[in-house]
């Protein structure tokens, strides 16, 4: 069975028509993971027994004639910063290496309730801080398209898992681009929903005003089903948006793009963007224009300042959120300490990786007395400016288009010496999180050396349906073959 070619939709149809069983599908995916994941490094924990048991329960319901949800029997990989009750959740950090949550995240509950088969927990940059998945406290992840290159981060494991055909769907989290960037680097659809659309209850916090959970899938339709499955108001998350009706993105996306207005911000296509990336993304824009969309260039001068504001805000929030890791109630505790202060300091110093410590320090610095006004407050005021500029733009445009990442997937080790160089990979993604708007990245094509290039569509708050409409139209026209040969190009 070539499971790497299956989609959520195909699995649903196959189960309904009894072409195959859920247990069969799950076994096939688990076999593929065992055969190939050693060279990719996508998973940190596999939950084989539970996955098979869940799939058997789905088969029993099918045998009884029960109606199936779209996610029933669908194997899912979950980023290892989402709590799974009884199943190790590490955030790819030594700090939580042995942590077993006593509860499920809301999104995990939702998947289980709908019959989703959780295969295991995927690798990531430690505490979601990174853009390449080289900051994992355990081992890096490799890009299935070229194993000498990074898959992007921080949700690199989830992206690599879907790209390599280890699951048709995965969940990631996005604080400054951590779904969209690996989606672009791995040739996938990745969605960062509107802030508040998907519950953060059970998502281990990095930047609480920026974090959102979202799906990876190989097709736009599958991404639509996945988002439908996890979104919704949650009273346990005080930032969860109330009063929203359930949306049917999969139905709405087939309306075409005729008459839709798409804005091209010139600052997102300026010097510094890889020429192949620019060419491929603009070819995608042309396709939409040929299909009847109105495309117009405009100015949106937020990239460089947005990156600065993002790193100040996210680091500040991280320094606060990661204050809970002190070796007292849970997490790593140092083996030797003379007093309480040493217990805390040594536990944190020994267990956190270099990038996590760097961001905690940066966040503490920008919040500290004497620097708060110059850095953090300024960043927060700029945040309001970004919201205002996007609000103005969406009075004219249905969506804004850009490359997802200004560069092609880079080699492992290429950007690890200079943190600022790594941060620049987020240039086109961070302002989406600052404003809380939704964005979708999808494959736009391949470079001459066969590396995936992502195109990003940004929308107004709660207008994910427009993004799915545009993405579906482009996907149909491009007709890309998105299954890599595992082994890659050295």
């Amino acid at each position: 069975m070539e499971v790497e070619k299956l989609t959520i939709k195909r699995i649903h149809e196959g189960l309904q028509q009894k072409e195959f069983k859920a247990e069969e599908i799950t076994k096939a995916y688990l076999e593929r993971i065992k055969s190939y994941d050693r060279q990719i490094g996508a998973f940190l924990t596999l939950d084989e027994n539970s996955a098979l048991e869940t799939s058997r329960q789905v088969d029993q319901r099918i045998a009884r004639g029960s109606a199936l949800n779209i996610l029933d029997g669908v194997p899912v990989a979950v980023k290892d910063n989402m709590c799974t009750r009884g199943l190790r959740t590490t955030c790819a950090s030594k700090m939580l290496e042995d942590f077993v949550p006593p509860y499920d995240a809301t999104v995990v509950e939702a998947l289980k309730h709908q019959g989703g088969v959780i295969l295991g927990k995927t690798n990531m940059d430690e505490f979601a801080m990174g853009s390449s998945n080289e900051n994992s406290g355990f081992h890096p992840v490799r890009n299935p398209w070229d194993s000498s290159r990074v898959p992007g981060g921080s949700s690199g494991g989830s992206a690599a898992a879907v790209s390599a055909g280890f699951a048709p769907m995965a969940l990631g989290s996005d604080t400054g681009g951590s779904i969209r960037m690996p989606a672009a680097f791995c040739g996938l659809v990745g969605v960062k929903p509107t802030y508040g659309r998907v519950s953060r209850y059970g998502l281990i916090a990095f930047g609480s005003s920026l974090d959102q959970i979202g799906p990876f899938a190989r097709t736009v339709e599958d991404a639509a089903y996945a988002l439908e499955g996890i979104e919704g108001f949650d009273p346990r998350d005080s930032t969860s948006a109330p009063g929203r009706t359930k949306e049917d993105y999969a139905a709405a996306m087939k309306q075409g793009v005729r008459g839709m207005r798409i804005g091209i911000p010139r600052e997102f296509f300026a010097e510094g963007v890889n020429p192949e990336v620019r060419r491929i993304v603009l070819r995608g824009v042309k396709s939409l224009e040929d299909q009847g969309a109105e495309v117009e260039e405009f100015t949106l001068p937020i990239t460089q300042s947005g990156l600065s504001a993002y790193y100040m805000i996210s680091s500040a929030e991280a320094s606060s959120n990661l204050g809970r890791y002190d070796g007292v109630r849970f997490g790593y505790r140092a083996g030797e300490y003379k007093n309480f202060e040493e217990l805390v300091v040594k536990s944190r110093t020994e267990a956190f990786g270099k990038e996590v410590k760097r961001r905690i320090m940066l966040g503490t610095y920008v919040l500290s007395s004497g620097y708060y006004d110059a850095y953090y407050k300024k960043a927060m005021l700029f945040r309001q400016k970004v919201r205002g500029l996007f609000r103005e733009a969406f009075e004219t445009y249905d969506a804004i288009v850009s490359p997802t990442v200004p560069m092609l997937p880079f080699k492992l080790g290429e950007k690890t010496q200079d943190p600022l160089e790594m941060y620049l990979a987020d240039l086109f993604t961070v302002n989406v999180n600052i404003a809380g708007i939704p964005a979708l990245s999808m494959p736009a094509g391949f470079s001459e050396s066969g590396l995936p290039v992502g195109i990003q569509f940004m929308g107004n708050h709660f207008e994910e349906s427009k993004l799915f409409r545009i993405a579906y139209a482009l996907e149909k026209d491009l007709g890309l073959d998105l299954i890599p040969e595992l082994g890659g190009v050295e």
Partner: protein, 94 residues
């Protein structure tokens, strides 16, 4: 803006982290470069914006209701050292 090794050591104390002298010096260099890049934010015209310019509503609170918690045992499964229902740590105050 140049960040000194002494500032890094002060911030480390606030963050409950410790670094060797060499690490602190390296961090000082990194922060100097990062904050120099961030300085372009100072060029932005931010007049007319407040911290909550586009916030629609204040904090939404839920009803303060007592709900029995049934998973007390599981809650401390990840604690390194317990004495009965108390978490065991070194004396906080000498």
């Amino acid at each position: 803006m140049k960040v000194t090794k002494e500032e890094v050591e002060y911030i480390a104390r606030l963050a409950h982290l410790e670094f060797t002298a060499e690490e602190a010096l390296n961090l000082a260099g990194e922060f100097t470069a990062i904050l120099e890049h961030f300085d372009q934010l100072a060029q932005e015209d931010l007049s007319g914006y407040g911290m909550d310019t586009f916030e629609k509503e204040g904090l939404r609170l839920r009803e303060d209701r007592v709900v029995p918690f049934e998973h007390f045992g599981e809650l401390f499964n990840n604690t390194a050292s317990m004495a009965g229902t108390a978490v065991k740590i070194p004396k906080v105050v000498d």
